[in-house]
Symmetry: C2
Subunit: 120 residues, 2 copies
């Protein structure tokens, strides 16, 4: 992030003043936007890999639950997870409503996997 910020600063300084620049062609890449997007792409690759690891674990949980005939969903556990993530979100300046929606989105997918494992 520090490097990306430094890069943005350099890009920003290297840019001509808005009043002096000729109108850019409609599809010209915007260097400020391009630098932001590079950081977003790096973060998304990290998210995909960490989600892949999360689903590796929940797949094992699903197989264990199916074998031990435990129910796929666990509302008490989910409520505890949501409360914890909302607190973490507040500390990280992330909208707690979004983090709750996000966890629901992930859990819904996990439950679908568990139900599939149970049915298989």
């Amino acid at each position: 992030m520090c490097l990306a910020s430094a890069e943005l600063l350099l890009v920003s300084r290297a840019m001509p003043q808005e009043t002096q620049s000729p109108p850019a062609p409609a599809n010209a890449p915007d260097p400020v936007l391009a630098a932001y997007r590079k950081s977003i792409d790096n973060i998304d690759a990290a998210l995909i890999h960490i989600l892949a690891e999360r689903f590796r674990i929940t797949q094992a949980v699903g197989e264990y639950k199916a074998k031990a005939t435990l129910p796929p969903a666990d509302p008490d556990r989910e409520a505890r997870q949501i409360a914890r993530l909302r607190k973490l979100s507040e500390e990280a300046d992330l909208d707690p409503e979004f983090s709750e929606k996000f966890l629901r989105f992930i859990i819904d997918e996990v439950i679908r996997h568990h139900e599939k494992a149970r049915g298989g």
Copy 2:
């Protein structure tokens, strides 16, 4: 993950055989499930923090787009992001359909933020 697996193995070895164990009380914590959940909780904390960082960047993008009167949504960029993340997902053994749904979920939230920034 290596430590977690080793921990699971130890927990698993320390558990009494299923045939010899007395019936567990309805709400007794299952040690195998508890070890899996510890890993999931660690991963979720990482996800929340990396998402917080992603929204910090997209907030800056939103402000920049609003200032530069760029449209909040960019369908071409989104199509490239989806294609890239689907490919990364395949390499990481994550369902590409899920990763596409995931990115849509995040992008929808980002667009909401951008529209709010534009309106404000």
